[in-house]
Every structure is written in C-alpha cells, then in structure tokens.
C-alpha cells in the first residue's frame, strides 16, 4: 500500500488519510494510547478538544478525541476498546496502518479563557480531551490566570497519563487534584468523586472558565456543583459524546435536539446544552 492520500485518487471528505502507528502504550487492560505518524500530507493540526475519526481497515471507524497533536502532523490518541472498531484499534501495534479523518468539531474555547483562571475537570477517558488543553495552557502560561486541574478515575491503576500527572504535580503554577472511586491501603491520594474536590480548586469560580469532560452524569453534577459555587453557566464548557458517524453534520446520528454534536461540538457551553441533557428522549 502506498502512502499517497486517498483524496488524490478522487475520494471525498469521508476518505481517510493514511497514518502509521509509531508507538503504543497500554494505559490499562482496555485502554491504549496510540502515537500516529502521517504517511503523506497529514490532516490539519487538531485544536484542543477536537476529535478525529479513526479507521481500522476492514472493520470501521470511530470518533476518538485527540490527546496531543504536533505541527509535523503526528497525533496521540487514547482509545478504550468497547466495540469491534475500538477493540481493533486497541490491538494495533507499531507499524500498523490506520486511517484518520478530521480534525472535526468545536474544541475548548481557549480564547475566552485567556486572561482568566481556568478549571479543568477530567474523569475517566475524559482526561484525553482535556489533556491537550492543559498542555496548551502550560505552553502559553503567561496568557492565563491560575490553573486548577481535577482528575478522576475508577482506581489508581486506571489513571491515564501518569507521567503527565507527575509532571503537572511538580509545577508550582498548576493546582492538581487527583481522586479515584475506590482504592485500597497504599494509595495516599484522594478517594471520592471529582465534585468533592471543587471547593479546593484555587480559582475564582465567579470569573473562571471551566472545561469539563467525562461521563455525562459526572459532567452534569460537576456543572451543578460549579453553578452552586457561583460559576456563570456561560463559562462552563462540556465535551459531549454521542453516536457520531459522519462527523460532518450530514448523517444526523449524533443529533441532540437542534445540535449536531459532531459539528456544533463536541465542546458546548453548558447553558446551551443543559436543557437538552435533561430530556430523556434525546
């Protein structure tokens, strides 16, 4: 197979660009981080919070958030194997080929966050989409106010990106809190829900911008906790996950009321999606 992008062969927006797996890291038994290198012209550089559609050839494609992206076109994406496509992607090893479409959607509003305190809450696999936002703020540290990061996971073993967590913990300009749902003795960190750490976030919630990603129920309770503590709803952003197929707003599978999560999101301001999330039929 050549490295030529299939778009040169007359294909359209649904055609993936070829990438090769350059490295894989097992985060947990079902979760893998793949480093992907473009074989020819890469897709555009994803902004923090955007996602791509990853192809496992012969099986299908799935929307995957971007944990890191470099100007040379390389991508780092974390995948949990829960279905045929994501399980196949999780089985990929260095040298394998995958297809990439994107980047898609609206990411975190880092322009709005400039000059303000920022609170970032990531739970479970939801740490992946906020990782690039955290790194962006750290790379442009002077443009932002205080940075508080709250990370939640099922168990200590399930925490994503332990090296990054250690690096953020060492920095004096990041207030990092990590908590897990359950732990046995030996774990010296927090045990509890991420919402229980909101009072310890050293940011001014009255003006701070909050980026929240994780299971939807978790995000609802984080948003509620932030509102109770004085955060304006327009300053709270959540990254939603729906059944995204085309990723370009054509197929309607990810429709949430008047919104297409793939195109209008996945990051949405809380005041826009809160009324929709409380409708069970949506």
């Amino acid at each position: 197979m050549t490295g030529a992008p299939l778009t040169e062969l007359g294909a359209g927006p649904m055609t993936p660009t070829m990438y090769r797996v350059s490295a894989r890291a097992d985060e947990s038994p079902q979760t893998v981080t793949l480093d992907l290198s473009p074989m020819a012209d890469p897709i555009g550089v994803p902004a923090p919070g955007q996602f791509t559609m990853l192809w496992s050839f012969g099986i299908g494609e799935a929307p995957i958030s971007v944990a890191a992206a470099a100007v040379d076109g390389s991508l780092r994406q974390t995948i949990r194997g829960v279905g045929p496509v994501t399980s196949a992607l999780c089985a990929a090893v260095a040298g394998d080929l995958v297809g990439v479409r994107g980047p898609y959607g609206v990411g975190w509003d880092l322009d709005l966050a400039q000059g303000r305190d920022v609170l970032i809450v990531g739970g479970g696999l939801g740490v992946a989409p906020v990782r690039s936002a955290i790194e962006h703020i750290l790379e442009n540290r002077g443009r932002f106010g205080r940075l508080a990061v709250v990370i939640g996971a099922r168990t200590p073993d399930a925490l994503l990106y332990p090296r990054e967590l250690a690096r953020w913990q060492e920095r004096s300009d990041v207030d990092l809190e990590v908590t897990v749902d359950t732990a046995t003795v030996g774990w010296r960190g927090n045990v509890g829900l991420v919402t229980q750490l909101l009072d310890r976030a050293t940011v001014d919630l009255g003006t701070a911008v909050a980026f929240v990603c994780g299971p939807e129920v978790m995000m609802r309770f984080v948003a509620r906790g932030l509102l109770e503590r004085g955060a304006p709803p327009e300053n709270i952003f959540v990254s939603l996950e729906r059944n995204m197929h085309c990723a370009i707003g054509h197929c309607g599978h990810c429709q949430l009321g008047p919104l297409f999560v793939c195109k209008d999101g996945p990051v949405h301001p809380w005041h826009r999606v809160a009324p929709l999330l409380s409708v069970r039929e949506l």
Partner: protein, 154 residues
C-alpha cells in the same frame, strides 16, 4: 491550643452559625494532632466527638474479611470527619486513619448533643447543616456506585 469561634467560622459546615453558637462549640473543642497511619476512629466505638480537619488527609476505611482494607473516601482540610455522633446509636460506622500528618479540631459531641437538647436553635442549626453534608456525600456515593468510569462507552 485554644479553639476560637473565629477558627470555626472558616468551615463551610458552620457557615452562618451565630457567633454565640460558634463560641459554644469552641468551648467544647480542642486542637489535636495525628501522625501518619494513626487510627483516628474505630468502627463500633462510641461516637462521642468529631473532627474538623485543619490540615492533612484522612482515609475513611473498612476492613473486609479476606481482602485488604478498602478506602471508602478521603477527607481533607476544612471538611468533617465523623457524622455518626448525630444519630443513635452514636457509634462509628467506619474506621478513620490519618494518611499523613493531620491537625484537626476535636469537638466534644456528647457536650454538643446535650447543648442541642437544651437549645433547639443550636440543634436546628447543626442538624440542617450536617444534613446538607450527608446529602452531598450520599449523592457522591450514589454516583460512584454507578461505576461511570467503567468500560461502558468508548
């Protein structure tokens, strides 16, 4: 070290409590310290006090036969360790252990329960505030019971 009403006013659980009542609680309080891994509360022992954490982290734990000790929740600065003092039979439900050096305000719950019997306004102020705390912890526990981070979505 003497505990003052001003010290107690820092705690969210006591926000809005009158100065008079804060002073009454302060009169039943003292500062205590625990070393790393020191047991603070033990299951089934009398719940005759509770702690307002000043610094450090406390693990709420339970021993399960055949398993290692399970940490149910951790409590840090400006939060409360011990709510069983509020309700009969006034015995601890779980163990509590200092995960690191802990400084706390120990409140005499026996004296406080007696004061609540005499002064319903104090009782109402404390029980409504602890009800909020219990509700928050119940909600958090229920959400954790959903195992939201489990492998159910991609």
């Amino acid at each position: 070290m003497t505990v003052t009403a001003h010290d107690l006013a820092e705690y969210r659980i006591l926000a809005g409590v009158s100065d008079e009542h804060l002073q009454l609680i302060a009169d039943s309080s003292s500062e205590v310290r625990f070393g790393t891994d020191e047991r603070i509360l033990s299951t089934d022992e009398p719940a005759d006090h509770f702690y307002l954490i000043r610094s450090g982290r406390v693990a709420i734990e339970i021993d399960a036969p055949g398993r290692t000790t399970i940490v149910i929740e951790t409590i840090s600065a400006l939060d409360v360790v011990g709510v069983s003092w509020l309700l009969p039979p006034h015995r601890w439900t779980f163990d509590a252990t200092a995960l690191e050096a802990v400084t706390a305000i120990e409140v005499d719950a026996v004296a406080l329960r007696a004061a609540c019997e005499i002064d319903p306004a104090l009782g109402y102020a404390l029980y409504t505030r602890f009800a909020v705390l219990l509700h928050e912890r119940l909600v958090a526990t229920r959400i954790r019971a959903l195992d939201l981070y489990g492998a159910t979505t991609s």
